[in-house]
């Protein structure tokens, strides 16, 4: 095959991919439109008639052959808020672990340990989320529910919400374990790519290894750390199966002023809501509502990439990439 042909062929393939993405975005928004149109900006708010679960049930049960009577009312704040706190919590904890682990692997770990650590990290990154969900359901949730949450705590909120161990605490912890390996892998690659001359120059000035790493390597790797964080957040936002299994699947917005109880409260993020409602896609208004949640996830991951790009730009001047 000549180069010109190869160029054409590959170009066409790339165009197909772009076209498919465009089609997907357009069709998601087209299907989501009735939900947004009927609720306006209140879609993102809280309150409304009953809880979000009752609203979803009403939407599901509304007659799909009679558009006049279709129910669309939804106030999606609880799943939005659940997505936000679980994702942010996992990202913050995971980022700290990832940076420190990456530094250890690259700068401090003995050769033998490194040879074990790196494949293990790569393996962790490839574990399917259902497996994490199973570990959560079979081990962590019963432990938290039976050992960590006292009877008094359960009774204190009895008229508001059920504390059973399915909680944002368990969800955040497992999500952290899921997204940290990707971040470690990316940051390790970048720390390796720091030019020897930079760190050797620092060492020659008598600066110890820890300070060298912290002031030279990590600073230079900042764009890559942001890229890692963006990638990990995107995975966290889209995680559905595991969160559906451990988050409690209740349309409840955990309340930070509840103190320690806050961490034991259940939630249900957007992606989990979509995957749990998948049986009802054929019901027009219900399908539209789920597509609207999908559209919100699409838009937020778009802004995530955009935000990552702009955060990286000023840093890239002094760093790699």
């Amino acid at each position: 095959m000549s180069d010109a042909r190869a160029e054409l062929l590959l170009g066409a393939l790339a165009c197909v991919v772009l076209l498919l993405i465009a089609l997907m975005v357009v069709s998601v928004f087209a299907k989501a439109w009735p939900s947004f149109a009927n609720n306006g900006a209140a879609w993102f708010g809280s309150g409304g008639d009953g809880t979000v679960d009752q609203q979803l049930e009403r939407i599901f049960n509304s007659p799909s052959n009679n558009p006049e009577a279709a129910a669309y009312e939804i106030r999606a704040w609880p799943p939005l808020w659940g997505t936000a706190i679980i994702t942010l919590g996992a990202l913050l904890i995971g980022l700290v672990f990832a940076v420190l682990t990456a530094i250890f692997i690259v700068e401090f770990a003995p050769e033998r340990m490194r040879r074990v650590l790196e494949p293990v990290v790569r393996l962790l990154a490839a574990v399917p989320s259902v497996v994490y969900g199973l570990i959560g359901v079979l081990v962590l949730v019963p432990f938290v529910g039976n050992e960590l949450i006292s009877q008094e705590r359960k009774e204190s909120v009895i008229f508001v919400v059920q504390l059973s161990g399915n909680s944002i605490l368990v969800a955040t912890v497992i999500l952290t374990v899921m997204i940290t390996p990707i971040m470690i892998a990316i940051i390790v690659e970048t720390l390796r790519a720091i030019p020897r001359a930079w760190t050797e120059g620092s060492a020659a000035l008598g600066v110890n290894r820890w300070r060298t790493v912290w002031t030279i390597s990590v600073r230079a790797a900042r764009p890559a750390i942001i890229a890692a964080a963006v990638l990990a957040t995107a995975r966290a936002l889209g995680e559905a199966i595991m969160l559906s299994m451990v988050s409690g699947s209740t349309g409840f917005a955990p309340n930070p002023i509840d103190g320690l109880t806050f961490f034991f409260e259940p939630a249900r993020p957007l992606a989990a809501t979509i995957v749990e409602g998948a049986e009802g896609f054929s019901i027009g208004p219900f399908g539209a509502t789920l597509y609207a949640m999908g559209a919100v996830l699409l838009v937020s991951s778009f802004f995530l990439s955009l935000g990552g790009y702009f955060a990286k730009r000023p840093l890239a001047k002094y760093g790699l990439r």
């Binding site: 679960d53 049960n61 039976n146 359960k154 919400v161 059920q162 399915n166 049986e279 896609f281 054929s282």
Partner: protein
């Protein structure tokens, strides 16, 4: 330049044309475990099914028995996805039979519901909580969120808050529970939702304070209170004494024809099919 563009567009269209049907067929087939013996016959009719996860085990066993009885007549392909997926698939003509564990609604048009069996729906609690019996008002108070502590439930052997676990609104099981137990009263807003029978079973098994409902086949290892004075068993469901039994349906586009009609008729009438059903479900005869 213009040549590049033309070729690119042509390839794009060709790529799309091949990509789209592929994904569509993958979607209907992907969850499938096909229930068919080794076959070389391309001329045999193929019955495709999708839908309810509750009906799927029964459908698979029936298909296997049917093939054993009439080895050369038909082949089966079975996928799951949930009652509404099955009904949507069969309305659109993507499958021959849609399995459903929810009853027909006014919005279902152009499709025909064939009743194939009945299934008992049991209220379940943790084995530590040996509630012997729950009346309908008790069930409604507990699942409706008006009773929130086990000390207020007669016969309960534990105290403490009640954790209500229910199915997602889109499930056929939830629909049946609302009709048979709740008289369509609202479920507690604090209830936790689970996407399958198995997940409810697991939650109730690991949480002392939990109460939920599952198909009889999933009640193993849990405490099953009697409902309205009748135990949730196969025998009492068969005799009609147990009031928490729901219907299993095979849905066809219009009245069933050809191979599907023969299969459904065999399920409804042949003694062999009735025997298969009566292992874990309630036969119609």
């Amino acid at each position: 330049m213009s040549r590049t563009r033309a070729l690119g567009a042509a390839m794009a269209v060709a790529g799309l044309a091949t990509a789209l049907p592929a994904t569509a067929s993958a979607m209907t087939d992907s969850h499938g475990s096909s229930a068919e013996p080794s076959a070389q016959a391309a001329q045999r009719a193929v019955i495709t099914m999708s839908g309810s996860t509750s009906v799927a085990p029964l459908a698979a066993r029936l298909a296997r028995a049917y093939v054993r009885q009439y080895p050369r007549r038909v082949r089966f392909r079975l996928a799951q996805g949930g009652s509404d997926v099955g009904i949507a698939d069969v309305s659109a003509g993507r499958v021959t039979i849609g399995n459903s564990s929810r009853d027909p609604r006014s919005s279902d048009t152009g499709i025909f519901f064939n009743k194939i069996a009945r299934d008992a729906l049991c209220v379940v609690t943790n084995p530590a909580n040996r509630v012997p019996d729950m009346s309908q008002p008790t069930v409604q108070a507990v699942f409706g969120g008006r009773t929130r502590d086990w000390s207020q439930v007669p016969g309960s052997t534990i105290t403490g808050p009640i954790n209500v676990v229910v199915r997602t609104p889109a499930s056929g099981t939830q629909d049946a529970f609302n009709a048979l137990f709740m008289n369509r009263q609202a479920i507690s807003s604090a209830a936790q939702q689970r996407a399958s029978n198995g997940l409810i079973q697991q939650t109730v098994r690991s949480d002392r304070n939990a109460v939920g409902y599952v198909s009889l086949a999933f009640a193993e290892g849990l405490n099953v209170p009697a409902y309205r004075g009748v135990a949730c068993t196969l025998r009492d469901s068969r005799s009609g004494a147990y009031l928490g039994a729901r219907n299993f349906w095979m849905v066809t586009r219009g009245r069933a024809t050809g191979a599907a009609a023969k299969f459904i008729q065999w399920i409804q009438q042949s003694p062999r099919a009735q025997r298969v059903i009566s292992t874990e479900w309630v036969p119609l005869q």
